[in-house]
């Protein structure tokens, strides 16, 4: 981990309008994430974890405040600029894997590389390396429907890292897995952080999952209530 700030949220507020009611999720939220961090965000349902993840991932915009990434402001980018930014900088891992059922494992992993200028040969090399890293080289041609939950999540991890993003955002990555498989997946995330220097932000309900992170933040009603549970 370096001292360089990768993510900086400055006075971020987020409000939703539901019918005539205005719901405030965050009000003047500040946080920063350093490059190389493995940060877990915990909190009860409705605390704003997923909304925070959406803001950090550039799939949602704050009502007010600023979001800076690697020295550049990103909250004011257009939708197409944000799409390009996400493709180049963020890897996503979802609770339910969200793989494309009509593609086999390696095609799923190759998907983000369609957004790059890499040649077909280069893409194949990248996919092979990512599949090897997650230990699924021998199942590359298999359809994801033929795989276990843990294997599917590993394919999702390979997809998240194949384009070599700076940051990996994980939304309950072990929420659909048994304990043993969950530990394997978390160990893999830990390895990506430790050995490959990936910055990881993980939203989870699971306290034991949070123990794999270097730092844990607790979110409740849109505020960080207990800071810096560093492991």
């Amino acid at each position: 981990m370096t001292d360089k700030i990768l993510y900086d949220l400055r006075g971020v507020s987020k409000e939703f309008v539901k019918g005539k009611e205005k719901i405030t999720i965050f009000d003047n939220l500040n946080m920063s994430i350093k490059e190389g961090e493995f940060l877990a965000i915990m909190g009860p349902s409705g605390s704003g974890k997923t909304t925070l993840l959406n803001l950090l991932g550039g799939v949602d915009k704050p009502t007010s405040g600023e979001i800076w990434f690697n020295g550049s402001r990103v909250d004011n980018l257009s939708e197409s600029q944000l799409a390009k930014w996400r493709a180049g900088n963020i890897g996503f891992i979802f609770q339910f894997y969200n793989l494309m059922p009509m593609l086999n494992a390696e095609r799923n992993v190759e998907l983000p590389l369609l957004l790059t200028n890499l040649s077909s040969k280069q893409r194949k090399e990248r996919v092979a390396a990512a599949m090897e890293l997650v230990g699924l080289s021998d199942r590359a041609k298999h359809m994801t429907s033929e795989m276990s939950g843990g294997q599917q999540q590993r394919v999702a991890i390979a997809r998240a890292i194949v384009s070599d993003p700076k940051l990996i955002l994980c939304d309950e990555p072990t929420g659909d897995l048994d304990r043993k498989t969950a530990d394997e997946i978390l160990s893999m995330l830990q390895l990506l952080n430790r050995d490959f220097g990936k910055t990881i932000l993980m939203v989870t309900h699971d306290p034991s999952a949070a123990t794999y992170a270097k730092r844990t933040l607790h979110l409740d009603k849109g505020e960080f209530v207990e800071k810096e549970l560093t492991t």
Binding site: N54, G57, V59, D60, E79, S80, A83, K84, W85, R86, A87, G88, F92, F94, F96, N98, M100, P101, M102, L103, R107, E110, L111, P112, L114, L115, R123, R159
Partner: protein
């Protein structure tokens, strides 16, 4: 992997749905190809009609005769290049069901009027002119009965009889003509009027109608008026019309085939529109979450829009091209069928272009709404749908 591969995989992920929609489109374009070619063949006579050709018939009805002397008189009208005469012989080969469209003509003038349509070796044509019992046979008829030059064949008439009481004439095949245009008719045979007139017992020196070639289409009106005025108030008044109009009115007697065919084709395409449109909308709705994931990964909304539209186009074009391809084989089969009564049914470039235009239209109409929905889909909304 490419966007096209992704589109293809999405399209074929539900095999049964893909097959059923593909099959519906396939059938619609097969029908379109076959029926449009049929319509085009029916109208070939109209389309291939020369602008400078006229038909002059008895004013009462085209089945009523005209005196042979009219031919010479009409030839004197200013603006006319040549006049050909025709008599319907009502021929058949061995049995009445083996119909042969036979016309008694003057060989000296036939090519002068119809030389732009009929392709025949000059030497063969000369031989036919010299032999009064000679017959000029269209290639389609020759192929049907296996006739060749030099054969002597009998032709019966179901209208006329010979002076000896029989209805059978013997002819020597002197030439087999082909058409200068692919869709022109080669289902007719031509015999000498002189031989026919001298041997038949029905009362001679009459003809059925005249084919007239003018020096310039601009002179048509003037020539028509001159001819019809010439025979006004005689027992055999004429009605002269451009060949195109004559052929059109002839086809119109069969009923409005074009309208019937267009209605069938329109109905089938309308059904396709509903089926494919519904199927595409359903397919994209089912994939809401996946579209959300793709957008999250960095696929722009515009790129997703193009991919959905491409999927619709791919479906329509796969079915459409397969349908047209099969129509080509089907038409080829019909063309080779014995006693097929129409000129060659051809999937012309015009028909193919029309089909492609319909494919583009259908692809656009069936794909645009799902594509716009995918374009506007919000990532958070999409990801919340599982």
């Amino acid at each position: 992997m490419s966007d096209l591969y992704l589109v293809y995989k999405n399209l074929t992920r539900k095999k049964l749905r893909f097959f059923l929609t593909f099959f519906a489109i396939f059938i619609a374009f097969l029908m379109f190809g076959a029926l449009t070619a049929f319509d085009s063949a029916l109208n070939a006579g109209v389309e291939l009609s020369a602008d400078n050709r006229l038909i002059s018939v008895n004013k009462i009805n085209f089945t009523q005769p005209l005196p042979i002397s009219y031919v010479r008189k009409v030839q004197t009208v200013e603006g006319i290049e040549a006049v050909a005469q025709f008599n319907w012989f009502g021929g058949y080969y061995k049995e009445p069901r083996q119909q042969v469209m036979t016309f008694a003509v003057d060989p000296a003038t036939l090519l002068a009027v119809y030389g732009d349509d009929i392709a025949i070796d000059e030497e063969r044509y000369d031989n036919w002119q010299k032999n009064q019992q000679g017959i000029l046979v269209g290639k389609a008829v020759a192929d049907l009965y296996g006739w060749k030059v030099g054969d002597r064949i009998p032709l019966h008439s179901n209208i006329f009889s010979k002076q000896d009481g029989s209805s059978s004439w013997a002819f020597d095949i002197e030439g087999i003509y082909t058409a200068k245009y692919p869709q022109a008719d080669t289902n007719s045979v031509y015999i000498h009027y002189k031989y026919f007139n001298e041997t038949q017992s029905f009362g001679g020196n009459f003809i059925g109608w005249m084919g007239i070639k003018t020096l310039d289409p601009k002179l048509n009106e003037q020539v028509i008026k001159a001819i019809d005025d010439m025979f006004a108030n005689t027992p055999f008044e004429t009605e002269t019309v451009p060949e195109k109009a004559f052929n059109q009115s002839f086809i119109a007697q069969l009923g409005n085939i074009g309208l019937i065919l267009s209605s069938v084709v329109f109905a089938s395409f309308f059904i396709i529109l509903v089926i494919v449109g519904f199927s595409m909308a359903l397919a994209i709705r089912e994939r809401t979450n996946e579209i959300g994931v793709m957008k999250t990964l960095g696929f722009s909304s515009l790129r997703i829009f193009k991919m959905v539209l491409m999927e619709s186009f791919m479906l329509i074009f796969l079915g459409g091209i397969a349908g047209l391809f099969t129509a080509t084989y089907f038409l080829g089969f019909l063309n080779n069928a014995p006693q097929f009564p129409l000129p060659d049914l051809i999937l012309s470039n015009d028909i193919i272009l029309k089909a492609v235009a319909i494919m583009v239209f259908l692809g656009l109409i069936t794909g645009i709404i799902p594509a716009v929905n995918a374009l506007r889909l919000n990532i958070i909304t999409a990801l919340s749908r599982r």
